[in-house]
Structures are given as structure tokens and as C-alpha cells.
């Protein structure tokens, strides 16, 4: 190249991590999908032709929500620990995250069991059933995917295979998990507060 280089060769040329950028793009796309389900939920509030109605059958899932949202903190601690190369702390925090996520899923399963068996609310029952199960179910499926990823990370960490060099990759998974939790805040607000 010519001598008049505007970037001296010894200066660093750093670009954002492709993993984080890729995950941010995936989050953008997934947000759009969730938005469409949220719009359907809000549009159909109060429009069911038959019961049961949300007010009659929905209880606020406070405990499970606290578990899920706390798991964002625990996964953050896990990545900080890995960054410090504190391997056993990483394993511990990852285990906590998986446990909290599993409690959330379990709580959802119990809630759905009650709704289906005792309240006779299914996806076919009315517009409320349709939009409720699809939106909460879409979120739950994302929780499951996240738990699979986190469990794999937990297994690798427990085996001692995770090193400081993997921090960026764990951050990518953590970013996904934060997204899942943020979506829950929106779903909770729409379904259990606005929609009731």
C-alpha cells in the first residue's frame, strides 16, 4: 500500500465479538416473534365468546418469577467468576442458574395442570386459552432451550473443561438467558396484570 498509511500498523484494530453480535441479532429476531404473540394477546383481551376468563383462573406466579429473574443475576455471577478463572465458583453459580430456571419451569407445569384439569382451559377453549398457552408456551420453550445450553455449560464447568478463554462464549449464553428473563417481564405484565 502507499506510504501515507492513516492507520499505523502497530495500532490495534479491534472489532466487536462476533458471538455477541450474532446473539444480539438472534435476540432481535426472537423479539419480533414475541412481539407478534403479545400483540395477538392484547388484541384479543376481552374478546373471548365463552369463559373461563383470566380473572377467574389466573393467579400471580410471584415465586417462580422471582426465581427466574434471580437467575439472571446468578448467570452474571457465573460469567464474572469465569472471567476471574474462579472455576468452582463458576460451576456453583451455573448450577444455581439451572436450578432457578428449572423451578420456574416446574411452576409453569403445575399452573398449566391446574388450568387444564380443574379450570378446563385449553388452547381450544376460547381466545384467552389460545393466546395464553401460545404466548406463555413460546416463552417456556425458550426457557427450555436456555436450560439445555446452561446445563451443557454446567457439565463442562463441573468437569473442569471451562477456562478463562471461554468467557466470551459463556457471555453469549448469558446474553440469551438475560433475553429470556426480559421477555418474561413483558409476558408477566401483559398476561397477569394488563390482561386480567
Amino acid at each position: 500500500m502507499s506510504d501515507a498509511a492513516t492507520i499505523p500498523q502497530n495500532e490495534t484494530w479491534t472489532l466487536p465479538s462476533r458471538g455477541i453480535v450474532g446473539m444480539a441479532c438472534l435476540i432481535t429476531a426472537e423479539s419480533a416473534i414475541f412481539l407478534i404473540f403479545v400483540v395477538a394477546y392484547l388484541y384479543y383481551v376481552g374478546k373471548s365468546l365463552t369463559g373461563p376468563m383470566p380473572r377467574e383462573v389466573l393467579d400471580l406466579p410471584i415465586f417462580t418469577s422471582i426465581c427466574l429473574l434471580s437467575s439472571s443475576a446468578t448467570v452474571h455471577f457465573a460469567t464474572s467468576a469465569l472471567h476471574r478463572a474462579a472455576r468452582s465458583a463458576t460451576t456453583l453459580w451455573l448450577a444455581a442458574t439451572v436450578l432457578l430456571g428449572a423451578i420456574f419451569l416446574g411452576g409453569t407445569a403445575v399452573e398449566w395442570y391446574h388450568l387444564i384439569v380443574y379450570d378446563h382451559l385449553t388452547i381450544q377453549t376460547n381466545l384467552f386459552g389460545t393466546t395464553f398457552y401460545s404466548l406463555v408456551g413460546l416463552h417456556a420453550s425458550h426457557v427450555i432451550v436456555g436450560l439445555v445450553l446452561l446445563s451443557l455449560a454446567l457439565i463442562f464447568s463441573a468437569k473442569g473443561a471451562l477456562t478463562r478463554e471461554h468467557t466470551n462464549r459463556l457471555e453469549v449464553i448469558a446474553l440469551y438467558w438475560h433475553f429470556v428473563d426480559a421477555v418474561w417481564i413483558v409476558v408477566f405484565t401483559v398476561v397477569y396484570i394488563v390482561g386480567r
Binding site: M1, A5, Q9, A32, L49, N126
Partner: protein, 557 residues
């Protein structure tokens, strides 16, 4: 810089067994091979979609014709639209993007090569799944298998009640999968553009093609996802008995329309932005001038991306929205005309004062410029909601969007083929055959799509397998149909040119067009690793600076 000095042997017949070659291509994660496979796949479906169009035009060549039954016709227009959008336009544009973006930013490959391969093969599977419907589905009234609900698949026509059997499901599933492939590629392109640029290539030194592919990919992320969501809802309705679009249970048919067009309108911008990208590279080279107003072109492209997600309901002016709602979408649709018009003016500014060479890529580009101008103007007409109350769902709309897609996108794609074929294969395409291709296609295109505006203005409705005798539409429809055949012949000339030039074309060398972006600095075709030494750039046109050290772009940027 990695300019090759020693001549390379060209396209020697491979002495490896065919199975080894096949294995290499099926398992490749190289962006250039994947790009070529996308392009080849799209060309195959272009021929299929073209045959579907010709069959429809035979049926419509005269009124009350009985060449095709209504069911077959309805399947054909559904399959033609779906094929052309999802299995021709998207793959070919992703193919060019895959091939060119890493080369233009001086990178070795895309950010996620395995995701790249996955996205491609999912899309391939999706295309074949759609066509499997001819065998596997049962359409309306139990006759034939392919979907016949139109490519928008409006509810409640797609409910189990009105579409028994599986034809609609093949439509839904194949597009769902194609969408997943598209989202994967979009993620890849953005991550590549953000994280893999060579040293010195700041955002404002990226070629405009790279900018436009980045914006297009962002649009894919927010546009395809709504369709994916709506299709999940449709599947839930059809198989789990949910009521998203079930009007008997209080559901809304209009909700599907909103969701579809929130995808559908940005989708057409997804298709046109890469086309702008090609023009931004080709027009300057054949005018021998830098693009006029690079910053404005960047701003206009990003602006188009943003505004395009706010105009969707101009496809729904007739569904009974409030006057305020209609008025908003009129405004948004007209606003988007401004940055689009600016682009045309900037191309005009690029040509002005240049030295225009009428080689085949430029001829197709000129066709694009005039035809896209007309298409944009008929678009403005349609944005005037009361005018659209007359023209919606008439042949005027069909004429408008084919002017954009064929007259704009396809012409520009042809230009891109002739321009980058030498880089991809090491050989030049035949100029003589190219000129035959151009003139035949131009004549056929105008014979088909110019009269179509007039039958639309006269009240002819679209998606109709026939039309009444007493309306006087027979002559123009005959001209329209003949034009389709001329375009088919022109396409055959093009395909022959592609194949013949691969074996007998003149050797191209690294830089046959005397161009200025990084891909022209490597061999033709590029080695697997793209660049022997990772490049460093200091301006938008690194090769211009090399060729004109007395007047480099760095002085002006």
C-alpha cells in the same frame, strides 16, 4: 496487497472422482461455494417459476379459455408467487451476498461458516418440501395437492374448513423453514460486517454493497420473524384447534393480514436493497466515476430500512380501516419515496460527467434505472389510498410489482451476473449473447408488463383463471402472453451463455472491468483463503488509490 502475477491454469477438468467432488460441495462451509450453490439453486427455481407463469399466460391468452382447470390455475399462481419470492429472489440475493461480502471487506470467510451451510441446506429442503405438495397434499375439494390459497395465504381461506387436506400445511412449513434459513444468513451477514472487516475498513470505508447487505439483513431479522410467528399461529389453528384466525370464535381475519404484510412489505425492501447494492457497484465502474454522494446513499439506505417497517397497511387500504389509519399509511408510503428517489438521482449524478461504457452489465443497469423509476411512480400512484381503492387487487398492481421485481430486481441481477461471473469462474461471458439476451428480454418484458397496467385500469381483477368475453380484454392479454414467451427465450439464451462461457469464455484475469473494490485484487476465481495477506485499506476504493497514486480517494474522504 495480494495481486496475483503468475497466470493460473483455468478450469482444468477435475481428475478427482465425481463422488469426491460431490462430497466436497455438500459438506463445504466456504462462503464462495455456498454462494454459488444458492445461485444455482435459485436459477433452477427461476425456470420452474417461469414455466408456471407461462402456463398461466396460455390460459389467459383469450377469454373463457379451457386450457387449465380453475384448481390448477389457482395452484399455479400460488406456487409461482411463493417460488419466485422465497426460492428464487431470496436465495439468489443471499448467494451474491455470501460470495461478495467477505471478499469486499477483506475477510477470509463469513463469521459463522457452519451456520452458513446449515442455512443453505434448510432453504434447499424447504423448496423441495413445497413442491412435494403436488404429490403429498390434498387441496381444496380434494383435488390436487399443491397449495392454492395465494402466496399471502389469507385467513380464513387457510383454515381446515376451507382448505382441507395438507396443501396449506406444505406452504406453511416450507416457508417457515425457508424463513429460518434466511434469519440464519442475516445473522451471519451482520456478524461478518460488524466483526470481520479488514484493518482500516471503518464503516464509512465499506463498499456500499456491504452497507446495503447489512441493512437488508437487519430488515430480515425484524420482517421474517412476524411471518414465522403468524405461521406458528396458523399451524396451531389447523392442528391444535386454537382460534387465532377463527372468525367463528371471535378471531380476526384482518389480524392475519396485518401480520402477513408486516412481513410482506419489508420483504420487498429486503429484495430491493441488495439490488441497489449491485447498482452502487456497477454504475460507477461503467461510468468511470466514483458514486455520487456516498454519505447520502448510506443515509438513504438506512432510512429506507427504517421507514419500510411502517408502511405495511398500504396493502390493506380496502379492508375498512379508519380514515385516520388509512391516512397514516398514505403518508408513510409517500415518505419512503423520498430516499428511494434520492438514490435514483445519485445514480444520475454518478453517470453525469462520466464516460459511459455500454457493456452488457451497464445495459442491464440502464434498463433497471428506467424501469425502477416507472415502478416507483406507479407505486406512488398506489400509495394514494383512494386510487388504490380502485386499483387494489387489479392487474395494475400485478403490473406494478412485476415492474419492480422483473424490471428492477431481475434486470439488476442480470447485470450482477455479467459483472461478477468473471470473478467467480475466471472467464468472461459472451458479450454477443449478452446483447441478444438483453434486447430479447427487454422487448418481452415490456410486451408483457406495459399492457398489464391498462387492463388493470379497465377493471380486470387479479387471481382469476379467466375473464368475461364482453370486456374487450382479449387482445391485450394476448400481447401479454406473447411477451412471456419472448422472456422465456431470452432466459434460455442467458442460461446457455452461463454454461457455454464456463467452458469456452475468454480468460478474465483478476480485474477485467478495471474496477476498484477489494474482490478485484484477488485471482479469478479467488483461492479458498481469499487473500494471501489480509489487506489494509485507507479509502473506499482501495484499487483506485493503487491505480491512481497521484489522485487517491484518500484526499477527498
Amino acid at each position: 496487497m495480494a495481486t496475483q502475477t503468475a497466470p493460473l491454469p483455468l478450469t482444468e477438468p477435475s481428475r478427482r472422482p465425481a463422488t469426491a467432488v460431490l462430497h466436497e460441495w455438500i459438506t463445504t462451509v466456504d462462503h464462495k461455494k455456498i454462494g454459488l450453490m444458492y445461485i444455482g439453486y435459485a436459477l433452477l427455481f427461476l425456470v420452474v417459476g417461469g414455466v408456471e407463469a407461462m402456463l398461466m399466460r396460455i390460459q389467459l391468452i383469450r377469454p373463457e379459455n379451457h386450457f387449465l382447470s380453475p384448481l390448477v390455475f389457482n395452484q399455479l399462481f400460488t406456487m409461482h408467487g411463493t417460488t419466485m419470492i422465497f426460492f428464487v429472489a431470496m436465495p439468489v440475493l443471499f448467494g451474491f451476498g455470501n460470495y461478495l461480502v467477505p471478499l469486499m471487506i477483506g475477510a477470509r470467510d463469513m463469521a459463522f461458516p457452519r451456520l452458513n451451510a446449515f442455512s443453505f441446506w434448510v432453504s434447499v429442503f424447504a423448496g423441495f418440501l413445497l413442491y412435494f405438495s403436488y404429490i403429498g397434499g390434498n387441496g381444496l375439494y380434494g383435488g390436487g395437492g399443491a397449495p392454492d390459497v395465494g402466496w399471502w395465504a389469507y385467513a380464513p381461506l387457510t383454515s381446515k374448513v376451507f382448505s382441507p387436506g395438507h396443501s396449506s400445511d406444505y406452504w406453511t412449513l416450507s416457508i417457515l423453514l425457508a424463513g429460518i434459513g434466511s434469519i440464519g444468513t442475516a445473522i451471519n451477514i451482520i456478524a461478518t460486517v460488524v466483526s470481520m472487516r479488514c484493518r482500516g475498513m471503518t464503516a464509512y470505508r465499506m463498499p456500499l454493497l456491504v452497507w446495503l447487505y447489512a441493512v437488508m439483513s437487519g430488515l430480515v431479522l425484524v420482517a421474517i420473524s412476524p411471518l414465522t410467528a403468524a405461521q406458528i399461529m396458523l399451524l396451531l389453528d389447523r392442528y391444535l384447534g386454537s382460534h387465532f384466525f377463527d372468525t367463528q370464535a371471535g378471531g380476526s381475519a384482518v389480524l392475519w393480514m396485518h401480520y402477513f404484510w408486516i412481513f410482506g412489505h419489508p420483504e420487498v425492501y429486503v429484495l430491493i436493497l441488495p439490488v441497489f447494492a449491485f447498482m452502487n457497484e456497477i454504475v460507477p465502474v461503467f461510468s468511470r466515476k466514483a458514486i455520487f454522494g456516498y454519505p447520502a446513499m448510506v443515509a438513504a439506505s438506512v432510512g429506507i430500512g427504517f421507514v419500510s417497517v411502517s408502511v405495511w397497511a398500504h396493502h390493506m387500504f380496502t379492508v375498512g380501516m379508519t380514515s385516520a389509519g388509512n391516512t397514516f399509511f398514505v403518508l408513510a408510503s409517500m415518505v419512503i419515496a423520498v430516499p428511494t428517489g434520492i438514490k435514483i438521482f445519485n445514480w444520475l449524478g454518478t453517470i453525469w460527467g462520466g464516460k459511459v461504457q455500454f457493456r452488457v452489465p451497464m445495459m442491464f443497469s440502464i434498463g433497471f434505472l428506467f424501469q425502477f423509476l416507472i415502478a416507483g411512480l406507479t407505486g406512488i400512484m398506489l400509495a394514494v389510498a383512494p386510487f388504490d381503492w380502485q386499483l387494489n387487487n387489479s392487474y395494475f398492481v400485478v403490473a406494478h410489482f412485476h415492474y419492480v421485481i422483473v424490471g428492477g430486481i431481475l434486470f439488476s441481477l442480470f447485470a450482477a451476473f455479467y459483472y461478477w461471473y468473471p470473478k467467480m469462474t475466471g472467464r468472461m461471458m459472451s458479450e454477443r449473447l449478452g446483447k441478444w439476451h438483453f434486447w430479447l428480454f427487454l422487448i418481452g418484458f415490456h410486451a408483457t408488463f406495459d399492457p398489464m397496467h391498462f387492463v388493470g385500469l379497465d377493471g380486470m381483477v387479479r387471481r382469476t383463471f379467466t375473464y368475461p368475453m364482453d370486456r374487450g380484454w382479449g387482445h391485450l392479454n394476448a400481447v401479454i402472453s406473447i411477451g412471456a414467451f419472448i422472456q422465456a427465450i431470452a432466459t434460455l439464451v442467458f442460461v446457455y451463455n452461463l454454461v457455454h462461457s464456463y467452458f469456452k469464455g475468454a480468460p478474465a484475469g483478476p480485474d477485467p472491468w478495471d474496477a476498484w473494490t477489494l474482490e478485484w485484487s484477488t485471482q479469478s476465481p479467488p483461492p479458498a483463503y481469499n487473500f494471501a495477506v489480509a489487506p489494509t485499506v485507507e479509502s473506499r476504493r482501495p484499487l483506485w488509490d493503487l491505480k491512481h497514486p497521484e489522485d487517491p480517494d484518500t484526499l477527498y474522504e
